[in-house]
Amino acid sequence: MSTTMREATRPDAAVATSTAPGRRSRFVASGGPTYLLLVVLALIYILPFLIQISTSFKTEPEAAVNPIGLIPENWTTAAYERLFRFSDYVQWGTNSIIVTTVVTAGRVFFDSLAGYALARIPFRGRGVVFALLIAVMAVPGVVLLIPKFLVINQLGIYDSYTGMIVPLLADAAGVFIMKNFFESIPVSVEEQARIDGAGTFRIFWSIVLPMAAPAVMTIVILSFQGSWNELNHFIVATQDPDLTVLTKGVAQLASGQLSQGTQYPLKLAAAVLMTIPVAVVFFVFQKRIMNASAGALKE
């Protein structure tokens, strides 16, 4: 956030917005309406979440009568209490955290390794691997629901953390992103290191990878988001209630397991809680992304 602030108050930005009449009219012409539009759009994007939070603290009748009010008339934490008392919400959350952490770490490492190999290391079969990767990217995850169940079962890792985590450890899209990024780094940097006698892994690890921080960050975000929000893999990989993750648990809650009828405050509370970790991580990484891109801009 600090970067954003700094940027917004940069001298030239200030100049652009406030001085010289010619520039000023230009701001009005382009900036003013843009601003208005942006604020309206932002409201559309943000309000649903605010409504979601406030409704989770409402009573059910109030949620039905006054769905839009941002301040509940009768504050109640009944929905949250019910969630913790009558469901395995805590267990679901723990499982989600375990799986997401391991999967994200694994993906960052494996994807960047493979991406680097495809971008930079000439080896026999690279073209084939790359073609296969493209082909694999075209295989939609949802098509794999049944197949994945079959193979997970065949390997004897059905209904286990192994079965939940290992199949998610690599993704072709991530490899692709890393490959593209590595290709955009000038070869000259590595050539110097190679002349100095550095080996492939050292060049990768200590020279190229640090330069790829923005791409790594992208992978972290995508992997975290992807595995935290993954639903269908967990539907087919487990049946044990102790291995239920948040997505699966809340999805089943939404389709009426814990409750008959609508029960919106309860369901929204479940959704709010499962969004908090991902939101926190998002804001943390968001800041670093801004730093990285701001840094890139300065040069």
Binding site: L113, Q154, D159, F201, R202, Q260
Partner: protein, 424 residues
Amino acid sequence: MNPHGDTIRRTRRGRRLALMSVGAAATMMLAACGGGSGFEDQGAAAEQKSDAPISVLIGSSGDAETKAVEDSVKSWSDESGVKAEVQVASDLNQQLAQGFAGGEPPDVFYLSTDSLASYASNGSLEPYAADLENADAFFPSLREAFTYDDEFWCAPKDFSTLALVINTKLWDQAGLTDADIPTDWDGLRAAAEKLTKGKQVGLVFGPEYQRIGTFFEQNGGGLTNDEGTEATVNSPENVEALTFVKDMMKDGVAAYSSDVGAGWGGEAFGKELGAMTIEGNWIEGAMKNDFPGVDYKVVKLPAGPAGEATLQYTNCWGVAAQSDNIDGAKSLVEHLTTPEQQMAFAEAFGVMPSVEEVADEWRAKYPDLAAFIDGADTAANLPTQEGAADVISEMNAQLATLKDKEPQQILDSVQKNMEAVVSQ
């Protein structure tokens, strides 16, 4: 940022990571080649062990049901010395399918009439029910519901029927008395008209055959003939019944629960969006928990031109053919279906006992709900042929747009699908 700094430390760590990745890859290769398979060999039946632990998979309506089943299973377990564990499925159908496909199904589980045919026909089920000591104690219509290929596969767990539920406050406000309680279709329509006021609809029910079908039966219709050998979906009786329903909806005196913004009939009723609904005995628990302030009474569904009729719903205790303790499973089911246990379940979560002998006891205990158990005599089952459930869900899809469609047209298209199922 200095990308060249700290090279040595990074390199060492890097090398370790590289080794790890190679190791991981190798492990996976091994797993791919020689890993133990989750699929069990299904050729031979499992070796029977009389003390093998029994797993029970249930789909629970709530804590009360879970606890009641757990208590009952535990008491059997204490008595027999065989370990037994109850697991509550979050999605019973799916979990059961995955259990069978994975070669580790539960020993004993809830099984719906919908799924009976497919599990029975592929050899997943143990046809044990005829051997039970209390095999003859069940209601005949329930035995029939779980008979497939002339074999009585599994013991009915409990059952529910549909009845007419009336909001007494709204009833009185509309100036209606006990004499107005509908006994035939005209009476139902008249009451619904009087009860329709502003946003409040006279009669609400779920947009599905599982409710609307009662009218079919009351008119002497149904989806198949009694033997289940012939599809009769577009019979004149059914067309007439569906037209009656459509007309009420068109005139605004009846509506689907979804049309008034509720998830099911009970919710629409509880929120007083509708003054009458067609629901089963599960509505009692829902009213008690979610809408304690709403007073209601339960009466039999009105008779149609062909007499009284309702629909019934039931589950059974399925036993897996590949269980390694089938005798234990059978003994557990016998325990679960004793009159005492049946009454205990009834008390805990509002179901009706599947054994005939305690029907009177139940009626005496719950006089307000007597209409439900009285319905047992005239209750019809939904068709249970393999694929029939799909046809009904397709039918429900069409019934959702009943207002814009011709009853004849809907029933004709369903007839075609039902014929395919019946002729199998």
